[in-house]
Symmetry: C2
Subunit: 661 residues, 2 copies
Amino acid sequence: MVGMRGAYGYNDNGNEGGVVVGGGEAEAEIAAMAVLHKVAAPPAQSTASKLKARVKETFFPDDPFRGFKGKPLTTKWVMAVQYLFPILDWVPSYSFSLFKSDLVAGLTIASLAIPQGISYAKLASLPPIIGLYSSFVPPMVYAVLGSSRDLAVGPVSIASLIMGSMLRQAVSPAAEPLLFLQLAFTSTFFAGLVQASLGILRLGFIIDFLSKATLVGFMAGAAIIVSLQQLKALLGIVHFTTEMGLVPVMASVIHHTKEWSWQTILMAVCFLVLLLTARHVSMKWPKLFWVSACAPLACVIVSTLLVFLFKAQKHGISIIGQLKCGLNRPSWDKLLFDPQYLGLTVKTGLVTGIISLTEGVAVGRTFASLKDYQVDGNKEMMAIGLMNIVGSCTSCYVTTGAFSRSAVNHNAGCKTAMSNVIMALTVMVTLLFLMPLFVYTPNVVLGAIIIAAVIGLIDLPAVYNIWKMDKMDFLVCLCAFAGVIFISVQQGLAIAVGISIFRVLLQITRPKMMIQGNIKGTDIYRNLHQYKDAQRVPGFLILTVEAPINFANTNYLNERIKRWIEEESSAGTKQSELHFVILDLSAVPAIDTSGISFLIDLKKSTEKHGLELILVNPTGEVMEKIQRANDAHGHFKSDILYLTTGEAVASLSTFSKMTAP
Amino acid sequence: MVGMRGAYGYNDNGNEGGVVVGGGEAEAEIAAMAVLHKVAAPPAQSTASKLKARVKETFFPDDPFRGFKGKPLTTKWVMAVQYLFPILDWVPSYSFSLFKSDLVAGLTIASLAIPQGISYAKLASLPPIIGLYSSFVPPMVYAVLGSSRDLAVGPVSIASLIMGSMLRQAVSPAAEPLLFLQLAFTSTFFAGLVQASLGILRLGFIIDFLSKATLVGFMAGAAIIVSLQQLKALLGIVHFTTEMGLVPVMASVIHHTKEWSWQTILMAVCFLVLLLTARHVSMKWPKLFWVSACAPLACVIVSTLLVFLFKAQKHGISIIGQLKCGLNRPSWDKLLFDPQYLGLTVKTGLVTGIISLTEGVAVGRTFASLKDYQVDGNKEMMAIGLMNIVGSCTSCYVTTGAFSRSAVNHNAGCKTAMSNVIMALTVMVTLLFLMPLFVYTPNVVLGAIIIAAVIGLIDLPAVYNIWKMDKMDFLVCLCAFAGVIFISVQQGLAIAVGISIFRVLLQITRPKMMIQGNIKGTDIYRNLHQYKDAQRVPGFLILTVEAPINFANTNYLNERIKRWIEEESSAGTKQSELHFVILDLSAVPAIDTSGISFLIDLKKSTEKHGLELILVNPTGEVMEKIQRANDAHGHFKSDILYLTTGEAVASLSTFSKMTAP
């Protein structure tokens, strides 16, 4: 009798459908006889072809060459060149009206890029001119290779901060400026190498492990650390701590109260209020974006004039000083692969590379989805990576697409990457002719510009949203924030990533399992806890597992299911005695050898309790392995496999009635 | 019109059920009107109560105190004491017939434990007597605290090997024997502390990360390393390498060909053949288990007699030498918490503790499931941990339940942990009176005993099974094996664990997604690739996601779904133009803030393409978050939520027909 069950083939009688449960015994019996569907195994595939498919899904989820299929060879070549140089996509159809838009956008971001370039270079303990160099060559390279139309390329605050702090641990920028510069270029080279490799090896998913919660917390923490560093410039302190944490910086600020200069503080307050007001205006009326975009340059001009007119440098206000005119000098001879510093530069390159890549790709994706075009993540990585490799050979340090500058670019109406070229040309003009004008620019105004820029990284609405959505994510966010502020920028990031991954692992180790019940009058089975209308089916324990079954959770599943069986068995009256344990495998995407052993174990132990284990709807890979286990040891006959819970319940209740004494 | 959809409440008309798709338009229309079910959110819970439930599932999946509920206070106390001391479970009802069985089993495992104890201590570079001490106190402690009835406790090969190799890196056992001994006891103390803490903190799931594939590969590798170490004794080499890897050991063996002693080799071959034959006999006829159980002791006796009679120690056969009579001396004064060695002992304790815990718990679980009783993993960890802490204070080194000895115990018919007590008492008698008899025992026979014992750890059928089941698991197994043999025991293990975890993460980063089709004549929707009978529904793209949606995979999901939509849109003829994208969330157990952002993004981008996004059957937590996102921003109106794909398709095809021009 048992052998007969489950042996029905497909029922091709297309006009009948849907099993009715609880709608009368006779009906159920007929229904069970009529509509049993077999669980099919996926078509047999060789290991090699499965491996190929897996590799393709892992590394080429976007299938970048799908357009190439079936095209003639010459077209393929043209397409390949176009793929490598996205500039060819838009240059042929470039028009004067597009150029007008890009010109406006390019000049706007240049007015932002010049003061920010100088400021961020100082944040990285580099000579200010390196910041301008970095706003000249990399944007040109990106314009050729990059696929985003909105990304405005240049140095960014967080990567500058991290590079400065990591290199300062080994070398003092004041004592050995040349060595420090060499290490900065070498780190930039490695950053570019890491970024380009991630793109070429299509390992872009590594940056996905920086979750939104991690980034929100990290950015907010880094913004505060960056702002704290500016207290040196804003208060006019000369002997400032070289440490970064909240505690040592505040201690240093309080300890050096005597060095505070009232002239500097007055200037700081005025320009900070001005910049923040401009920022506020632009946020409130987005059409006035140019107010905040031009404010930094305006502040630089006004403050430089003030210093020049009042000879303020003689009253305790520190100024940038002489800057040399001229374009980027080649710096490949400055790349330093000395084993003594190799570890440091590789590590610095890795951290700054991944951080700046994350920012660049995220910014690119954000604006692409606003304008509804596609940005290829891996191609972006190659573009950003090459841009940094070229940069490291032309006196530039780490650059990427900055959020604030790209937002201005977008608001100013940029159409193509030409706006980056315009910006680079403007910076070039500055480098060639206008450098002497910056002699009297006070450092305090640069500090104010940095603070006004990074304050946007503290995204309180996002934090509130995370708190409301998911308390665990909020914890991750908080840890990233606290780690950055109290320990260090890198370790805060590492802690947050660690917690995120641990959380994912915990989800696997303790997968969700539910008892399902039948929704009255249907053949739908749903979670008893979630649906009040769902009712237990007497004699059945219907469980769903919602995770891959693997080594990390088989022990848990085993214990948990046994406990449920025990509870059910002890609670059951004679009428509703437990006969069947149904395991719905619909939501189990994969199973490993430990998982198969677990199923075999479970089958044996349920049999010892006089119960029968039924498996419902194993998906492709799982079905394949169940079949293999059956071939090897005969553990899973086809009569314990059903396609839906409804069919299993209908068929088995009929069966148990027929065989009941 | 749109507002009307999805607004149907529950249909309580229990006699109707099952939606028919494709069975005539009129029918479908009626069916769609009749049986739409709402997606319910789980009952509202406070964060605290959710956290409590989560913590309970994570740390108390077995709910150890569920028997306590509703019992009077005194009963609770009695139960608590019984929980802490499982000995109280069986002692009150202990009978003479049980004792007879335990006596036979205890004497049998003692005959195995004495030669193995001496051998394994030598493997750990410790004095042989420490091995006997370790077979005396820990079994007594375990008998009181342990909940397994079959576990035979004592030193084991792999933990001995690892402890020896890790401590030898810092201290030479020949040059500083006392310091080495101190470090061994201290490591044992930390091992016990780690084990007991894992039990008390209920972090037992940490050992779950050693998957079956990892363990099979690791054990096989370790068995080979252990056997290689025995070549010193088997060949009679005096100047042997202190390294462990395959390459240096074989180099050392070949380099010292002149030291090979033919007398030793002859003896080695004879006894090895004898032991392996005995092993083979016991495996073929399980009733003759005592043959392999008693063979080691018989070999020791015979070889000792031979050496004594022929004065073989004068012919190049090395012997154990004088051993002192007497029981374990207290060793708490030997525990060394010197900062210089603290790192080493903590690390050694951690590694040996987790390895031996894994073995002990796995062995306990295996035999418990054979005899169908429950072993509480966390309680076992506490028992094994306390046993090692007590052991470290009474001149014992790391002990756990050994697989081979427990199997003998089980086969010999043990009934309770009393067999461990019998074994301990036998070892005690040996320690008190029989130690002088071991003076002439040759080292070569100990080497042969170790090889015969560890050869069982090479589980070729399991390897074959893993190869057939899962190629990726096989790779993990191979890496563990190769890592142990060519790099080092600890690093081989670390590599295998790393690959296992990376694999789990990769599964999350690249989750399975399938296009589903309707199985003809039913309302069942299944994977198009797996079921040939499944057919696409024109106008619909039905996708299932089988993983939690979180930061690690939202980018991938986004790209993959967009690509599918693109392909569908370009392939569709006018008749079958794509209108709806259905995302079946049944198999999505959890979602985080990145996941919610992804859904919102996806909804916006599908709308831009003139498509409608439909979500089917979000489970508890996911539904809750979708609801919260809707409350906050109104992204997910209830008209895009359906309980089953069948209902969604039926309702939407009716709807699109009604509104079509």
